[in-house]
């Protein structure tokens, strides 16, 4: 008895596999497609080589003054020389370790929240949320514990951008949640107040809000009481942002099936306990990606404080580019600022996509 032995498989035809086949299918499947491919290649050829030439090949990397930029590409010396100003603004250079320490504390303190196996995350997270701002304020502003005080007018650069964005989102979250609950309330007076508040802030641009907080807020306060510029901007940002957060949270509240509300009521829970123990934990989990997206929008919007004369990253760059010692450096400066903003925003948007996948506990059919 002999067993049948199969012949070895023939290799697939050359036209069906490999680079050639992929190109045939994806780039040259029809005459229109071929034309589009050629057009795209032309576009890339038009943009990429000059960009590389400018940014890397002909760029100047070493030196201390504009005179050192002899090649006709980008002059990155400018960025190197002004890097401190772009990151910290006019924060005294011998005290900049305090800013670094604040950032490191945030990174180390928040790290356990991102590790899946750490227990008691909610308690830890709340404690962190309460403790950290106090610590950060003490470190950044000083004036206590033997730390030299640094006025907020000296804060600037990327640090100021991060401070405004973080305070904005942390301050806006509780207010936004309350507004969202109010908007879905069955009490007409509460609902009308919340809807008016939300729609008002959503209907006006942030610039006018900042203008208002800088010129009108002093008029609203009792005589003799005054806030510094940064705090005024922050109040404006928080009020503005809370309206957007409220709309995101409302989306989550609406997505919770009615059965959950009824079940909570059937258990004998009152309004606040039903919301706090049953509805909000589910709703907030649903809207985390939405909140991250709002944060990205806020992060980009912080650049508007330029209008009321705060020196965030963008304004520091604008200021430095107007320096007579570094004339004609606008392009390098703005490209650098754009890169920093891009890294933050792109990173956060990827993180929000990752969260969306991770938090999706399979309600989708």
């Amino acid at each position: 008895m002999s067993t049948h032995v199969f012949k070895p498989d023939m290799p697939p035809p050359v036209k069906a596999v490999g680079v050639l086949a992929w190109m045939r299918n994806n780039l040259f499947s029809s005459w229109l497609n071929t034309l589009l491919t050629l057009f795209a290649v032309y576009l890339v050829w038009l943009i990429v080589p000059p960009l590389l030439q400018w940014a890397f090949i002909n760029a100047n990397w070493v030196g201390t003054t504009q005179a050192d930029c002899t090649k006709h590409g980008a002059c990155w010396v400018f960025i190197q020389q002004r890097f401190g100003q772009f990151m910290y603004g006019y924060y005294p250079s011998e005290l900049r370790w305090r800013v670094d320490l604040t950032v490191w504390l945030a990174v180390i303190g928040a790290a356990p929240l991102f590790i899946a196996r750490v227990p008691h995350k909610v308690v830890y997270g709340l404690a962190f949320l309460v403790m950290y701002p106090v610590l950060a304020y003490t470190l950044l502003h000083g004036g206590y514990l033997g730390l030299v005080a640094v006025a907020t007018s000296q804060w600037g650069g990327l640090m100021l951008t991060l401070v405004i964005a973080t305070v904005g989102i942390v301050g806006a979250l509780p207010l936004g949640i309350l507004l969202a609950l109010g908007r879905r309330s069955r009490m007409p007076a509460v609902r009308v107040v919340c809807v008016t508040f939300i729609e008002f802030w959503r209907g006006v641009p942030l610039i006018t809000v900042l203008f208002m907080s800088s010129v009108m807020l002093p008029l609203f306060l009792p005589e003799g009481m005054s806030f510094d510029k940064l705090l005024r901007a922050m109040i404006g940002v928080i009020l503005f942002q809370s309206a957007y957060i409220a709309e995101v949270v409302r989306g989550g509240l609406q997505a919770i099936p009615k059965g959950q509300y009824e079940a909570a009521a059937a258990m004998g829970l009152g309004y606040w306990r039903a919301m706090g123990l049953v509805i909000l934990p589910q709703a907030l989990k649903l809207v985390i990606p939405g909140i991250v997206n709002t944060f990205i929008a806020l992060f980009k919007d912080t650049s508007l404080v330029i209008i009321i004369g705060l020196f965030d990253l963008l304004n520091s760059v604008k200021q430095a580019a107007a320096d007579p010692k570094w004339l004609g450096m606008a392009t390098e400066g703005y490209v650098f600022a754009a890169l920093v903003f891009w890294i933050f925003c792109f990173g956060m948007s990827r993180y929000s996509m990752h969260l969306e996948r991770k938090l999706d506990t399979g309600h989708k059919r």
Binding site: P205, T208, F211, V215, S303, L304, K318, A330, F341
Partner: protein, 392 residues
Amino acid sequence: MQNKIGAPKGFSLSDPRVRAWLFQIITVVAVLGLGWYLFHNTQTNLQHRGITSGFDFLERSAGFGIAQHLIPYTESDSYSRVFVIGLLNTLLVTFIGIILATVLGFIVGVARLSPNWMISKLATVYVETFRNIPPLLQILFWYFAVFLTLPGPRGSINFGDTFFISNRGLNMPGASVAEGFWPFVGSLVVAVIAIVLMVRVANKRFEETGEPFHKFWVGLALFLAIPGLCALLIGSPLHWEVPQLKGFNFVGGWVLIPELLALTLALTIYTAAFIAEIVRSGIRSVSHGQTEAARSLGLREGPTLRKVIIPQALRVIIPPLTSQYLNLAKNSSLAAGIGYPEMVSLFAGTVLNQTGQAIEVIAITMSVYLAISISISLLMNWYNKRIALIER
């Protein structure tokens, strides 16, 4: 404190209705109280600073020049005219921006879904690059790093001796009304009426006999032929004046100032990235079964797209598209960063500084944006309702 279950009598805090009333009264009193407190503070502060409130300042003469005004303006004109100029400039940027961003956004959105690898990757890079950079930064970049570094009028970039781009902006031929203008407008009206009639007749015939009619091509022919004939017979409707380089600047024609160019370009590029994503998700939301069903009914590729895919995709696209239009209108206020004379930089900036009427000026500015927001969303809601799915 005991109540019979189901029939609480009198005043009791455990009655939900009583609590609801109490809660609402507290809210209203708190809001009114806060309002009164702020109003009172403002009154006292204004008195102490010697500022008279009121809108009388609008009639005073402004006394400063404006780089771009769509209506005639001299320095002796009043602040109310300055307000109108700022409003028109805001609307101009919003209008141009919405049109350009929609066109670019649809192209990029469709390109992202293209089976062509190169095209879809290019579109992805575009979207991911521009939506992650703050719009104000993009505006400053185009203004300070691009338009202001262009050569002056003498070394301007020349497009066929009719369009010139320099650091003074874009100089282009300007049109003025010629003798054939009003007959031309009349012929346009006639053409539109003819097209409407043609479409009605064609639709009626199609419903009765099933015979199709080339509505689009006949319509296009009517639209081109009637006004064209009119222009040939009576004379050109517009005079075109080409800009000429005289001395150090251009004379004649229209000029788009660099602030306007930078602002429109940046807002278009930024908003188009978001519109592209909306268009992409809208088209993706139409299930493939719809395409297959259309094919099995014998529709070709064009009609499948026009009559099956796009109407369903639009339903998903319209609501988020509306909020992008609103964002663009609000983002036009970023012009304050480069000094394009629109509502915020002209009115809330210059006028506020000159008059010191902070409350009135900010209130007017905010109401303008609220009005723009409300009208755009009403318009789009109306359109949305018209195309929404009518369920059984």
